[in-house]
Amino acid sequence: MAEAVAGRRPGLDRARVLAWAREYGVYVSVLALLLFNVVFTPNFVDPGNFRTQLVQVAPIVIVALGMALVIGTEGIDLSVGSVMALAASMVVLYLGYGPVPAVLVALAAGAATGAVGGALVAYVGVQPIVATLALLVGVRGLANVLVPQLKEISNPGLLALGSGSVAGVPYVVLIAAALTAVMAFVVRRTTFGRRIVAIGGNRTASELSGLPVKRLLLAVYVISGTLAAGAGVLATARLQAGDPTSLGLFMELSAITAVVIGGTPLSGGRIRVLGTVMGALLMQLLQATLIKHDLPQSWAQIVQAAIILAAVYAAGNRGAR
């Protein structure tokens, strides 16, 4: 009803504040945390420190970009951490053929994992959380079978990917930034991006509007898997070792956190690409801040939990009209 434009009562101000917080809270928080550190943390304003922070956050950003797409369709991809491990083992196995083939095989493995998850979700109708949980377990196992223990890597080409830089900016950071730009463009300006958001908003309506819903869902999971594999390759290059046992553990949680804090609701229908990057940055900064002030890691986790709750609270109130 027209009156439903409505819903606005005196409490409106609260709703408005929440809507604002959902949209911009993450930016403000990052800014505030930066300012805090600039003022109170010794040696924070140091190029080396910035570089370290960004290098550490880059893989999370890359994984979270894919996760944002998946969550935008009202799905979730728990397999990303295991896909990183799989990518690491692929790199170890195929590095003998040179760094380029090894990286391509790793990316293909990620895409294939994504395709399996996507097919289960789109064509078989398995719930995303179940389908990708199975992959989380199975793919980690596969990665461990392929490469049972940590293998050091000495191929200079691959190592350069992890440690090289252009004008002082590490490749890893450049790649993450470039992928962010591409993803923002895809979401905003392409038919693909618009359709994904519509699927997340109302799948039945999208189907009846002639959208190839299944193919789009499949594509989204393939993208997520490929990006996770890319993150796995970069992390491996930086570690100078392939470590399928522990690489990417809990990455799915970091990525989901970044996405949710960034303003993309778990219920889908909206994707915030820059917000996602900011979400990842916020978590990274928070951790760094607490460590630099000699507070234990556990504190960081507790504060993270609080931030996640705040983000979900703000998101949950959007419908409270």
Partner: protein, 521 residues
Amino acid sequence: MGAADAEIPVLEADGVSKRFPGVLALDEVSFALRPGEVHALVGENGAGKSTLIKVFTGAHRPDGGRVLVEGRPVAFGSPLEARRAGISAVHQEVGLVPDMSVARNLLLGREPRTRLGLIDLPRLHAEAERTLAELGVRADVRAPLRTLGVGTRQMVALARAVSVRARVVIMDEPTSSLEPREVETLFGVVRELRDRGISTVYVSHRLDELYQLCDRVTVLRDGRVAHTGPLAELDRLRLISLMLGRDVAEVRAGGVTRFSGEHAAAAEQPVLEARGLTRRHVLNGVSVSVRPGEVVGLGGLLGAGRSETAKAIVGALPLDEGEVTVAGTTLRRRRPVGAAIRAGVSLLPEDRKAEGIVPGLSVRENIALAALPRLARAGLVSEARIDALVETFMRRLRIKASSPHQRVDELSGGNQQKVLLARWLAMNPRILLLDEPTRGIDVGAKAEVQALVDELARDGLGVLLISSDLEELVEGSDRVVVLRDGTVAGQLGGGEVTEDRIMAVIAGDGAGDPSGEERHG
């Protein structure tokens, strides 16, 4: 209001105002509900009906004026408080829990408990069965609600409202998804309530119902009371003119519905032919054809297979057998809906909210949804082309939104429906399948949609019109195909298209021509 009758109103609004940003939804509205009366509340969309109801049910707090229950001022802080005061509402979009059993739904929040505080299932079921039986509703109270038809679900919602021992029952479009038989049951219930002294506020767009059922009427227009008084003293034309705020003569000239009637369908070949659509338990060899410029009505009771036929035509319902040809080409069934849309067949689905709009997105995005590929080059969306398209259709269909960027779920039902129509018209379809296009939208929007259908048909579009509103079906259609239990029960054309004949076919009196389909093949 000549209510000098010493009776104290059970529910009263005294100069109630309610303001939303940019809108004065209620402007000093006074309304009095007498004990044991059925009071019609009518008005166009945005007239303030829903807001007034929400004030009565505690969902909105008025900004000015008072609400009185039996003469005492009340200030409901929540719907629960209103319910405790004996005011029950049956909402347009029913708030039931689909996965719970019928019995749980009926007694939600009032479940009988065992001594351990657990739900006492035997008593729960017995009580639910008794409640439904009193209303003449037959349903398995143990079955999950979602397994029931829309009509029965609605009756459960009504039964729930009635069974909380309400003093006032507010019914907002209660019959919009009921079959005629169920409507009769409902009316029986309402009269029963009246005899027990319970008052009813009855909101409906169906004038027939109002005149059958209601004692008095209050007409709202633009947030003000346009009229209050006994309904019998008001003829239909006068009532419509009060609602629309137009002259009686003007309404008369325009007719009650906006359909003009005949279209020049003539001898052309069908543009759409569906043959032998079959799906187990649902459709059994349904054949329908539509020619360019023709409006074919699809009649029948709820569950006769009307919506299913429409869905099967666009490929949204998998078929066991049957084929659909558009302009002589058989539709590929592999990527069904997309194929149908490309061939020029579009479906406006029955359930606007669940199957139509994408609620979180803007009006603009909703209109452009299906047409996106056409508005893009190499997968890149052209904002300028979208803007142009959206502007054209917002103007043409007179979609009322604060801007193209307003969220579509903030619009009224009528405007949402227009957004969906725009989505399909943007595809330049050859055939439109309209499933209940005017359900739950106000009189004004209804007339506009009807006029639009007429105009489209005159321009050569083929239309398949599904409507539970017989009047709409009769006045809008050139031909009516009547379905019964998933088969074509008969077909009426020309002068045969009357409410009586349709009902006769539905009832199975052999009035129609069961082989009519072949005649046109």
